[in-house]
Symmetry: none
Subunit: 419 residues, 2 copies
Amino acid sequence: MKAEIISIGNELTSGSVLNTNATFIANHLFSSGIEVAGIITVGDDSASIVEALRGVSSSVSFVVVTGGLGPTVDDITTHAAAEALRRKLTLNTQARQAMEEFFKRMGRTMDPHNLRQAYLPGGAAVIPNPIGTACGFSVIRGSTIYFFLPGVPREMMRMFEAGVLPLIRKERPDDTMVRTAVLKIFGRTESYCDQALGDLIRQEKEISFAFLPHYPEITIKLTIRGTDRKYLEKKLKAAERKTTRLLGDIVFGKDEETMEMVVGNLLRSAGAILSLAESCTGGLITHRLTNVPGSSDYLERALIVYSNRAKKELLAMPASILSKHGAVSREAAAHMAKEVKRLSKSTIGLAVTGIAGPGGGTVEKPVGTVFIALAHKRQVTTHRHQFYGDREQIKSITSQYALDHLRKLLIAGEISGSN
Amino acid sequence: MKAEIISIGNELTSGSVLNTNATFIANHLFSSGIEVAGIITVGDDSASIVEALRGVSSSVSFVVVTGGLGPTVDDITTHAAAEALRRKLTLNTQARQAMEEFFKRMGRTMDPHNLRQAYLPGGAAVIPNPIGTACGFSVIRGSTIYFFLPGVPREMMRMFEAGVLPLIRKERPDDTMVRTAVLKIFGRTESYCDQALGDLIRQEKEISFAFLPHYPEITIKLTIRGTDRKYLEKKLKAAERKTTRLLGDIVFGKDEETMEMVVGNLLRSAGAILSLAESCTGGLITHRLTNVPGSSDYLERALIVYSNRAKKELLAMPASILSKHGAVSREAAAHMAKEVKRLSKSTIGLAVTGIAGPGGGTVEKPVGTVFIALAHKRQVTTHRHQFYGDREQIKSITSQYALDHLRKLLIAGEISGSN
């Protein structure tokens, strides 16, 4: 079965934003065994939208349209849909109700202006929007189902997953299935992984291996298609195991797991409590760790010691370290990790100090010089890194290495709940 | 003048990679005053490529095609181009020479396999590729010029900038220019802005207003086209001023400015020093502030007091506040802001405490309840919010409101460098 994606928005045709929606939808359709015959992007222009909708070949079963469903003047998709599919716009009571309920839930009264969004092409079925005012809708014409969704990515994604994908999967006449497994890698390059897996990729002819760099991580996606669910899952599991064995501990997670989830689970299993002292990362590591629900189980506190005064007052940083080695040094990082662990009575202290740039670099310590220290029991390990990139990239890669060093310490298995 | 972009590749239609090429090209065309009528993405399939090429309207002056020019079997664009544009493939001596020179420069001899890439549609002009083997080429048919470029982004970008854009700019009959201005909004909805600007949008017929929600912010992009640079810039400036006047202080920035840059500049101008005590945001506010180069000028420290013990030990949180009002309360937030300001001798103390979820909510204080406090001089102001969404969304919107409250305090102008 074939699908087409139509993306609407001047922000796309003027190159102001990347079309992440189309990629998201294409990826889900592909994984469901649906071929994406084409992706068409047009601006907020009625004639272009009508032309794109009318241009869809009758061999296409599903058309997913995003964008232009908002309440403002440049949101014209619903009108264009009515015109292209030859339906009248009528007040859809289901859409009206959904919108009124949404406003009620947010504790606001609905602006009459918003009612415009409840006028849908005749015969349209509503696709609920749990987190916004713009309802989606679907219209069947001939043997094609047209789905219309808002362009706001977080709304579109939730509506596509809950209101579109299940319908598409049900409509599929055959039993072709696609199964995918995702492995997440950090610490080596794509070509390293490619070489390490070369023989396996040649052997496993039924499985396609795709390398997707998501800086600073690499995602390896294993895909298998067929009709025998048990066979597919067995083959996939085996290939996943072989891949992990060949790559070793640079595989940090699977599927939707993030580095901070993996580290969080390891901390919880060890019964360990973590505290942090961040300088150049400015809170990013703690922010990432606290994105994981339940992180208060293992995260005690963090000190963002951005100034030297804060380093002295909060972490009793000796003046001698600052004068002899500087705030960006192995010695400073080690002291910070030990001291934050001691003060907070935690199992592990993690500290980071470095030069995120663009200023502050020297010949000996250029921009991107970072020290990461881990204190546990009576030991401190420190790592010196030289990173490249702009300020945000250096913060990001530093946070990733800090979490990865912590992960490796935890999988070495020498951590226990005592401090 | 109009252009169309055709992107070719299974990696695009399967949603494995984002179509960054199309966004890059669209952005350059738009800035050169060329309207992008559509972007079409198809897979590595000859019939689809031919159909996309033949479907281009004769009103389109330029077609930029990327992908499928490599040496492997799935690189079929050149054949499809010859078929669609009704030309024969012939050995192009210019292309052959360019390829031989490339291999020589790389110190390698050319694989006969590669010669395939020198067969181009009759009448094609070569677009040199300084960093790869696949030449690009252009073909004129009717009043349309078709440009074919490889899909590898760094090759495509260099070839587009050096070999395509100058040609397109020369072909433009007039000197049409585009000027844009971007205003960034926070704190009201898109439909509020649309209503507030309704009359202005109707009056300013030469200017197009586009609303782009970038949760939790809204971006309003004003665009004007014409030939008289001075006139365009004057008109745009005036429309920008009127827009800002109508929307008031919910306009927080312009163009590339982020909320944290705006707040940083205001802190620096006031000679103020900021310290933070974050609980539910887990370091996100400090992370955002420290993304701005030079933030150490005004950011002293931050305490991520995730546990109650940390609140007591680091911020002398009275047990009575915790027992009577709880860690998530107006009283706790106010105490945190005052105490972090006092301890760090800063001008302003900013504190946040709340329930990011998914657990921890109660009837009185459901998930999403957040208190934000600002301490300056002898005053403390607190704000209670009720947010919705998942954990990361609640953290994100909380950080945004915290920075916005700080911004409003700073633009009120009562802050001076003393504490």
